[in-house]
Symmetry: C2
Subunit: 328 residues, 2 copies
C-alpha cells in the first residue's frame, strides 16, 4: 500500500523559551525537576519575569519528532493549532522550512500561540512549564481525513490528552488511521502526564496503539509497578511494538517475539536534554518507515537523540540525513 507521508504528527504546537536555571530556583517554586506541568498564562508570565535571558525556538513534542523525521529525509506532515501571531509565525516558519505539510487553520483571535518555559539545569536536565494557549482549540475538525489516510503512521503525543477537545481529535485520527489500514503511534510524553491519564492511556495501549514510545519512568507509571521487566512484559501483550528509552543507557525495543536492549551513543558534551525522547522517536520511525529491522530502528533513534542533547533546543542543529550517513 503506497503512502504520501511516512509519518503524520499530531500535537501541541508550542514555541519553547529556553533558559538556564539553578536547581534552587525549581525547588523554591516547588516545580519537580524533569517534569512538564501545565500553567495558566498568568503563572507562565510570572515565572518568565523571574527567569534570566532566554532564547526562543520552535518546540512541541510531536512537532520536534516530525522536524527530526523531515531532516532525516522522511516525508512528514503535522497537525497542530497556532494563533496568527508572532510566535505562531515562528512555529509555522520552522515547520515549513523543513518541507513539512502543515495546513491546520490558524486562530485569528483568542488566546495566543502556546509557549513552554524550558528551564535547563546545570546537568542538562530540563523542566518545563507549558501554557497551552491556542493548542486547546485543536478539534476534530482539524483532523484532515485524507492526510491521515495518506500517512503510513499517525504519531500522537500524550500531552495532547490534556486539552479536552484535542482528545476527540486524537480519537478521530486513530479511527481514521486504522480504517485506512495504517499504523497508530503514541508517545506517553511524561510520567506526570501518564499519572493524569493512566486508565485511558492503558486502554489506548491495549486497543488503539500499534507503536508505543515511553521512557522507563513513564512505562512504570503506566503499569503501576517499580519492576521494569513486569512493565516490559505488560506492554508486550498490548502493543505491536514498544520503544522504551533509558537515558544514557540507550533503549529497549519490545515486540511480540523479543525484547532487545540497544546501547546509547556516548555523548561528551551534554548541554540540554530537551527533545531527546522526541528525536529518538524521529530516528526510530524513520527506520521503521524504511523497513529497517527493530534493532536498527533503535540504533537510529539512539544516534539521533545523541545529536539533540549537545545543544540548546529540541530541533536539530544539523542536517540529520548527513549526520546519519556520517555516524551510523
Amino acid at each position: 500500500m503506497t503512502h504520501k507521508f511516512d509519518v503524520l504528527g499530531i500535537g501541541n504546537a508550542i514555541v519553547d523559551i529556553l533558559v538556564n536555571v539553578e536547581d534552587d530556583f525549581l525547588a523554591a517554586h516547588k516545580i519537580p525537576r524533569g517534569s512538564m506541568q501545565l500553567v495558566d498564562e498568568e503563572t507562565s508570565d510570572k515565572l518568565y519575569d523571574q527567569l534570566g535571558t532566554a532564547i526562543e525556538c520552535s518546540g512541541g513534542s510531536a512537532a520536534n519528532t516530525i522536524a527530526g523525521l523531515a531532516s532525516l529525509g522522511s516525508n512528514a506532515a503535522y497537525i497542530g493549532k497556532i494563533k496568527d501571531d508572532q510566535l505562531g509565525h515562528v512555529f509555522a516558519h520552522d515547520i515549513a522550512s523543513l518541507g513539512i505539510a502543515f495546513t491546520t487553520e490558524k486562530d485569528n483571535s483568542g488566546v495566543s500561540t502556546a509557549r513552554c518555559l524550558v528551564m535547563v539545569s546545570p546537568d542538562a536536565e530540563r523542566t518545563m512549564c507549558t501554557y497551552l494557549g491556542a493548542c486547546v482549540n485543536l478539534t476534530e475538525d482539524d483532523i484532515d481525513p485524507d492526510m491521515v489516510a495518506a500517512s503510513a503512521v499517525t504519531y500522537m503525543e500524550g500531552y495532547l490528552w490534556d486539552p479536552e477537545k484535542a482528545k476527540a481529535a486524537f480519537r478521530k485520527a486513530m479511527t481514521l488511521a486504522h480504517n485506512a489500514g495504517r499504523k497508530t503511534s503514541l508517545t506517553l510524553s511524561d510520567s506526570f502526564c501518564v499519572d493524569r491519564h493512566k486508565q485511558e492511556f492503558r486502554h489506548l495501549a491495549e486497543h488503539e496503539i500499534d507503536i508505543l514510545f515511553a521512557n522507563e519512568e513513564e512505562l512504570l507509571m503506566l503499569y503501576d509497578t517499580r519492576d521494569i521487566s513486569v512493565a516490559l512484559k505488560a506492554v508486550q501483550q498490548h502493543c505491536e511494538v514498544a520503544a522504551v528509552t533509558r537515558g544514557a543507557k540507550g533503549c529497549t525495543i519490545v515486540s511480540a517475539d523479543e525484547i532487545i536492549d540497544i546501547n546509547g551513543y556516548p555523548v561528551s558534551d551534554l548541554v540540554d536534554t530537551t527533545g531527546a525522547g522526541d528525536l529518538f522517536a524521529a530516528g526510530f520511525l524513520h527506520g521503521y518507515s524504511r523497513g529497517e529491522d527493530l534493532k536498527n530502528c533503535g540504533r537510529i533513534g539512539n544516534l539521533v537523540a545523541s545529536e539533540i542533547i549537545t545543544h540548546m533546543g529540541a530541533r536539530p542543529n544539523v542536517d540529520l540525513k548527513q549526520y546519519l550517513a556520517d555516524n551510523l
Copy 2:
C-alpha cells in the same frame, strides 16, 4: 562626580532571528557577506521564508553591549523603541532580566518590533538583514535627560543614524551628556553604515564623540584610506579614545599619548561571530568605568568578545562577572 549608571546605551531595539546558511545563499541573493543591510518588512518576510529552522534571541548592537555590561556587574540603562507585541516582550524581558533600567515607552500600534535576520556562515561569519520596524519611532522625546545626566558614559550605535528621527534623539543625548560633564561614545557599527553616513560620522568623531569604537574596515572607510596607520593617526587627532577591533588579532587602543596593540584571546570553538564587537565594547567600557588603564580595558574587551563567539547569539551564555574572574 558620582553617577547612577556606568553606561547608558541608546540603540535599535531588535530581536535576532539566527539561522545557519551556506555562502551560496548569500551570493544568490546578492547580499554582501559580513554586512548589515536594511530591508523592508516584505523583503524580510520573503527572505525568512527561504531560510531554514531558526532560533530567536534578543539583539540590537547597543542593547547587546548593555547586556554585556550588566552581566559584568556594571550599572546600565537602555533607551530603544519596541512595540507592545510578542517580540517586544521577548526583548523587554531579556533586558529586565539583567537588571537594566529600560523605561522607553512602547508603541501600542503601528509597525512591529524590529527583527534582524542573522545568517551565520559555516565559518561563523554573520550577515544581517534588518527590518527596523518600531525602532524608527524613537524620537527626541524618548531621551530622558535625567537618565543621560546620571550616566558616566552615553553609548550610541551608528546604526541609529539610519532612522531620521532617531538621529535627532542621538544629537539631543550627546548635548545633554556633555552639558552634564559626561562622556559620549559611538560605535561605527558596520562599514556599509559608515559609507552611508561618512561625512556626518567624521564630524561626530571630530566634535561630539569622546570614545569611538570601530573595527578596522569601518575606520578605513571613515577616513577613506586603505592604510590603517593613516586611519589610526587621524582618529588620534579627533577622539579622546578609540578602540579598534581587529578580529582574531585582538584590538588596537588609541589615545592622545599612545597606540597600543593588544592580542586577542585564542578561541578553539568558533560558532557565530554575532555580537563580537558589541561585547568587546561591553568589556572595554566596563574596565573604563572602573578606572582601569586603557590596556586593561582592551584586554577585558578581548576576553568578553571571546565568550560570545563560542555560541549562537549575541547575548552572553554565562555570568560574565564570573567569566572575567575565572579567565582574566
